[in-house]
Symmetry: C2
Subunit: 342 residues, 2 copies
């Protein structure tokens, strides 16, 4: 069987250039591309591209266990893709690997026609290339404005956050704190903006003292949770369920009762949240549906349809971790008056 | 064959109540609904609901000719729906008909499982019912926030408007006017907000004198176009291609040359725009793709997937109606200095 190496040898160019030429990469001249294609045809190269291959690239999230965030995203995608004859590779990725090779090379070498990207952050090395890469790509919870080869799937953070804050407001909470992951992620930034907008809609002021942002879940929760409680937060919104789980641990350690002393709301609705004690009130992301929509969006791109985004609703699931606002200890009475506007 | 009337007579209730009960409408009590369903089953009623029926309701837009806006929206939807065994009825609608009966009754009587709604405005009589109706419904260019049975499809006005304004900015235009349809339509309001945001991003001020908003295309164009030109607009953005066509007519009447005296940009990319003289620069809405996405969104709702919206990109198609900004006549020189910030 003729390989990329055979074509490369015949033309006296590198294997990766052959691969780029065959995958229509933009950094190969049109003339060279034609030459590569003609040589490949002449030598009887059938290529991997005759196979239907897609990949799911995963970074910054677990996916192997059913209780991990990425699991159902991948399941939803593959449930749709496999019956239609696609081979789907799931490839874990990190920043180092992105520095070693370009996105276009990675895709060309794997023979992938398109990709579904999970967990990429705005500071990833490939982000710059995503602005111009001519490879049909769907990003979960991320968005590349300039590039028509890229589409986005995600949940409606604005609706979800508004429901969450309104729920707390109706329970009498006025001092609402947040525990958030780093805001250099597109989705966490959006979710935080949605929180600010929801607070404004409820006539509540955001108190800087009640905002705890940090990268490492356990560490930043340990640092900020006691501070938020001390400063009089009667409710804490977490940017994700993992932070809510960590908040529970801290609350148990400090004998802070949920929801009597403090109400907690998560975001994601991971399977575990229904079995926590008390069960966690959280904003639902239907990850199976998101995975399916990811596949649909990729099919649109592969079919030349100029899709921009698919958004699912993010409804609040009310369980036991939210209750009426508790009266706060004396020391925060003065501060408590700040955030009580209606 | 047993009919709705037979069931109504047996139960001593109206036909429309039977219909509501069978279609799960929210204004029939659970007890009555059960009774209706049991009676229907007992009498051997098979019902229209055993057929797969959808409808496309059209208001405020032409759709019968290929050059009309609604044509490809409907084509895209039916191209997807028919191979999957759906019967699709296209029903033109007006406000009077909406006053005569409720949306739920209309859907129940037609035996429709879901609907794709085109051209509805925020002041439509059914809008209020859309907040609570439990019928899978996809709206083109409209959005009902509160109701999980409703999803939305449309184009990215923000991206489209930004490209259009930036294009004019790069051609040296600083006094950009608009001819817009009424802002009580969800999409025109969004498109206008997108225009404001795009102007701000380019460092341009919006001059009230250069804004012409009106319902009737020919009438409002005749009224505002001369005013905008007189006030020194070197470019005019239209909210839709029909307005751009009307603007051409006015320009010919007044010997205003396009693009030498004024640049014109439309929105929609109707088939006719490529054959205008000069061919119209416009923002593209891929209506065939929008119709397909409408069908996909409706399938999501029917399958219980909590979809919120599908958005397509709206790229600018540059043709002959835009060119470098012309020097304006003396009388507007003073005003011209207002909008020239960078």
């Amino acid at each position: 069987m003729v390989t990329l190496n055979d074509i490369a040898a015949r033309l006296g160019i590198s294997k990766s250039t052959v691969s780029k030429g065959l995958s229509n990469a933009s950094d190969v001249s049109e003339e060279l591309r034609q030459k590569i294609i003609e040589t490949a045809a002449e030598m009887g190269y059938s290529g991997r591209r005759t196979q239907k291959r897609l990949c799911i690239l995963v970074e910054n999230m677990g996916y192997k266990e059913p209780n991990q965030f990425g699991h159902d995203l991948i399941l939803g995608f593959t449930q749709m893709a496999k019956p239609e004859g696609w081979t789907v590779d799931v490839v874990p990725l990190d920043k180092e690997r992105q520095k070693d090779m370009t996105y276009s090379d990675f895709m060309a070498q794997g023979g992938y026609q398109g990709a579904f990207l999970l967990g990429f952050s705005l500071v990833d090395p490939w982000m710059e290339e995503f602005r111009t890469a001519r490879i049909p790509t769907v990003l979960y919870d991320n968005y590349i404005k300039e590039n028509p080869f890229m589409a986005s799937v995600g949940c409606d953070s604005w609706g979800g956050m508004e429901e969450a804050v309104r729920h707390l407001y109706e329970l009498g909470h006025r001092r609402i704190g947040v525990l958030f992951g780093p805001l250099d992620s597109y989705v966490l930034k959006e979710r935080y903006d949605a929180f600010l907008s929801a607070m404004e809609k409820c006539g509540l002021e955001v108190n800087e003292e009640l905002v705890g942002v940090g990268y490492f879940v356990a560490e930043s929760t340990r640092k900020y949770l006691p501070k938020l409680i001390e400063k009089g937060a009667t409710a804490i919104l977490c940017s994700d369920d993992s932070r809510a789980v960590a908040a529970y641990t801290e609350c148990v350690d400090r004998r802070v009762r949920i929801p009597r002393d403090v109400s907690i709301i998560g975001f994601d609705d991971l399977p575990i949240t229904a079995y926590m004690n008390p069960a966690l009130t959280t904003v639902r992301q239907d990850r199976l549906a998101l995975g399916k929509c990811g596949y649909y969006a990729l099919q649109c791109l592969l079919g030349g349809m100029d899709i921009h985004s698919i958004v699912l609703r993010a409804p609040l699931v009310v369980r036991g971790s939210t209750g009426p606002a508790a009266a706060r200890p004396e020391k925060s009475a003065e501060e408590a008056s700040h955030g009580s506007g209606t």
